[in-house]
């Protein structure tokens, strides 16, 4: 067993690009779920807006990549209205149903042969991130170079997206933190606690919910952009239903209704996930048997890991629904 490799990979998982884009998406989801009590199960759809916003600039619109940022945000605002208008006046479940459905439809549309000219079909869109990479090279983080020391060794390519990613996380987190302390944020929390009370104070609950949905979605869009820039490509299957669910798990792990929770959660999530993945892969080099019952083959490691994610979410919900670092009093979207 190669422990140095396992440790190195786990630490890289802990602070790596996956943790970054999950953290940004989780901050957005936290605005909706943790602070306002909105059940957005389609965060992957918002992320796809950002990723395809970037990808389409070069692929379809033929303009500079940077225009993709406003275009992606524009997409996500549209999507927010599409999801919000029919559902935000109704029970919480309807939003969950519509968001999960919309995100799935977005994935089907962008991967379809019919709309291949716009979205590149199942292959997605590649090779649009050069302007972003060039800035990295210009300020001295050269793509091909190696940086750091064990256990933190990165190529310049990885390091540049990581630096940018964590800066975005910090800015977004601070922004949301301030917002939630503001009167506007307090209204959101009040909606989560008791919608009718807020309504009786003359606030338009619908409008606040819509603002929260769109703000959270726009932050999710940024997460999609970070991921797309890191990969240098956009692929429809990276925005499946499961991605939303894993982000939700990471968020709940860290603790809902706390900005710090939505950063720590994804870090722990990916730290543990990468560790388990590396560890089990080494264990399962030979199939593990108990009698003649095969417990684990190397091909099953991935699924076993995802099963553990599901189990974690179940156990969290049963024993600690506010998350590891959450505050029970803030977990009030159930009216308890």
């Amino acid at each position: 067993m190669d422990w140095s490799l396992i440790i190195e990979n786990s630490i890289k998982g802990f602070i790596g690009i996956n943790a970054v884009y999950f953290a940004v998406a989780a901050i957005g989801l936290n605005v909706q779920f943790g602070f306002t009590g909105l059940l957005n199960f389609g965060q992957a759809g918002f992320m796809a807006c950002g990723a395809y916003g970037l990808g389409m600039t070069a692929h379809y619109f033929g303009i500079s990549m940077w225009w993709g940022i406003p275009i992606g945000i524009g997409f996500s605002v549209l999507l927010g209205f599409l999801m919000g208008i029919p559902t935000l006046r109704l029970r919480a479940d309807y939003l969950a149903i519509v968001t999960i459905a919309s995100a799935e439809i977005i994935r089907l549309v962008v991967r379809s042969v019919k709309f291949k000219t716009y979205f590149g079909g199942s292959d997605g869109i590649n090779g649009f991130s050069d302007p972003f990479r060039k800035i990295g090279d210009d300020i001295g983080i050269v793509q091909a170079n190696q940086y750091g020391f064990w256990p933190l060794r990165f190529t310049g390519r990885e390091l540049w997206t990581l630096v940018v990613g964590w800066v975005v996380v910090a800015i977004v987190a601070y922004f949301v933190y301030l917002l939630m302390k503001s009167p506007w944020g307090r209204v959101l929390k009040a909606i989560r606690e008791d919608e009718d009370a807020v309504r009786s104070l003359g606030k338009s609950v619908f409008s606040y919910k819509m603002q929260s949905l769109i703000l959270g979605g726009a932050i999710g869009t940024m997460s999609g952009m970070i991921f797309a820039l890191d990969r240098g490509s956009v692929q429809p299957d990276n925005y499946s239903r499961d991605v939303t669910f894993y982000i939700l798990t990471a968020l709940v792990l860290g603790g809902v209704a706390k900005v710090s929770g939505s950063i720590v959660g994804p870090m722990i999530f990916w730290g543990i996930f990468t560790f388990m993945d590396n560890f089990l892969r080494q264990v399962a080099k030979d199939p593990v048997h108990l009698g003649n019952f095969t417990i684990m083959k190397s091909t099953q490691v991935g699924q076993l890991n995802y099963m553990l994610i599901g189990l974690t979410l179940i156990l969290l919900m049963v024993y600690r629904p506010q998350g590891v670092f959450g505050n029970r009093k803030e977990m009030a979207f159930d009216g308890h």
Binding site: K114, G310, M317, D334
Partner: protein, 442 residues
């Protein structure tokens, strides 16, 4: 006891993955011919095209829809001569088979150099479609009714669970898959310790069951699975007063857990049941349907009608609807609502399992067969009215027909999109659904 039975089914799925690995198979690839800017071939896979394989006697061996990679794999009963045919009406709009490709290709026994024979279909430019509009519409309607029956069956449980407990169960799709796979385990992998039952017709010495046994047992196990979920998880949470949103997020975790468990045990391929794969399509005027599909449809209809009658006229059925309408009022009138909820989970699980098995007969089984239906199920129960069993029946039927008929207009790969449209329109115009009762929210 039921836990044991379910555990046995799940653990003995091991090795099932290789049950048919030594057999012969045909790999059909459907591609659109294209060239990139440099003039090199850059063929694109075409998903969602129906292809079927027939034996020398014209009997259909299997009918599949190509996956995202434009590929469909048929497991063959034995080496022999076969004909592979592509249903041209299911090609995306404006696509037609290349002039050099016939819609039927004959394979001779000798051409199986390896165990897998590859058959390619290429499409070229755009031309008109051969079938008449009337024929296409009626065929889609028939397909829609078949899908609608399955959706109706699966969504009754989802809607009743919502009605009686308020829970939106995101793991309901996995309950559908459970049924399909439980029957598959009994039918293909077999439970060898039950081999001693082989004196009963339909049970073989290696512990595999004929589908006519496997299907009802699968349905019973599905009911048991529903019971077990309620007993082990949701009943306890209700007793502790855990909130609905927490429970709903828990079902998400359950869905991830179960789906990946199925994937790890059954792998990603889709596979057929052992029986009723050899079917010759019968022609009724413009409609062609295999005897299997006809029987499955009639059976689903019988199950649905009996469920509806039971809900309408039996004591327990009335109690169920009472709890679903207003749990507090129902408790006040002396109805044991926990008992009703238990019944609803069992019924919901059994119906979902039946839906899964019938879907499996229709389109083969895979680890995410139910997960892919989930969104259509939500559309069905929203359309019918959340919490209403009759609404779910009707909603499932309407959504099924609509999705299939829509594929005349939209590309087949996007045929689920109209369901989202309906979902949004219903919520905008009549959020309580067709049969739901309006209540003031906000």
């Amino acid at each position: 006891m039921l836990f044991l039975a379910i555990g046995a089914v799940l653990s003995f799925s091991l090795g099932s993955a290789h049950a048919s690995d030594d057999g012969y198979s045909i790999r059909v690839q459907v591609r659109q011919q294209q060239r990139d800017e440099a003039g090199k071939t850059d063929n694109q896979p075409i998903p969602s095209v129906t292809v079927f394989v027939t034996g020398t006697d014209g009997v259909e061996i299997g009918r599949l829809v190509t996956d995202a990679a434009g590929i469909a794999i048929f497991e063959l009963p034995h080496k022999g001569d076969y004909t592979v045919t592509i249903d041209e009406s299911t090609l995306p709009d404006g696509q037609k088979l290349d002039a050099g490709t016939s819609s039927s290709q004959n394979l001779l026994s000798d051409s199986f150099v390896t165990k897998t024979k590859v058959v390619n279909f290429f499409t070229g430019g755009s031309q008109s479609v051969s079938q008449s509009l009337f024929e296409r519409v009626t065929q889609r309607l028939v397909d829609g009714v078949r899908l609608g029956l399955i959706l109706a069956m699966c969504s009754v449980g989802l809607s009743l669970i919502f009605g009686t407990t308020g829970l939106t169960n995101f793991a309901h799709g996995e309950m559908v898959t459970f049924g399909g796979l439980a029957a598959f385990v009994l039918n293909i992998s077999g439970l060898s310790f039950l081999g001693f039952l082989s004196f009963i017709p339909g049970i073989r010495p290696d512990g595999t069951f004929h589908i006519l046994w496997a299907a009802p047992i699968g349905i019973v196990l599905g009911g048991g699975f529903g019971w077990a979920l309620n007993y082990a998880i949701f009943g306890r949470l209700r007793k502790r007063g855990v909130g609905l949103v927490t429970q709903m997020v828990l079902t998400v975790g359950l869905s991830i857990l179960l789906r990946n468990f199925f994937l790890s045990r059954f792998e990603g391929r889709t596979r057929p049941y052992a029986e009723f794969t050899l079917q010759r399509a019968m022609e009724f005027g413009p409609i062609s349907i295999t005897a299997r599909d006809l029987i499955v449809s009639i059976l689903s209809l019988i199950i649905l009608v009996s469920v509806a009658l039971a809900l309408r006229f039996t004591r327990l059925g009335k109690a169920t609807r009472a709890v679903s309408d207003n749990p507090d009022l129902a408790s006040a009138t002396g109805i044991d609502s926990e008992k009703v909820i238990r019944l609803v989970w069992i019924l919901g699980g059994a119906l979902a399992a039946a839906g899964g098995i019938f879907r499996g007969l229709d389109e083969q089984v895979s680890f995410d067969m139910g997960g892919r239906l989930l969104f259509l199920l939500f559309a069905s129960i929203t359309l019918g009215g959340l919490g209403s069993a009759f609404g779910a029946l009707m909603g499932g039927f309407v959504v099924g027909i609509m999705v299939e008929v829509a594929s005349l207009v939209v590309p087949t790969e996007l045929k689920a999109t109209p369901a989202l449209l309906v979902l949004i329109l219903v919520l905008l115009l009549r959020p309580q659904g067709i049969l739901g009762r309006a209540q003031r929210v906000g």
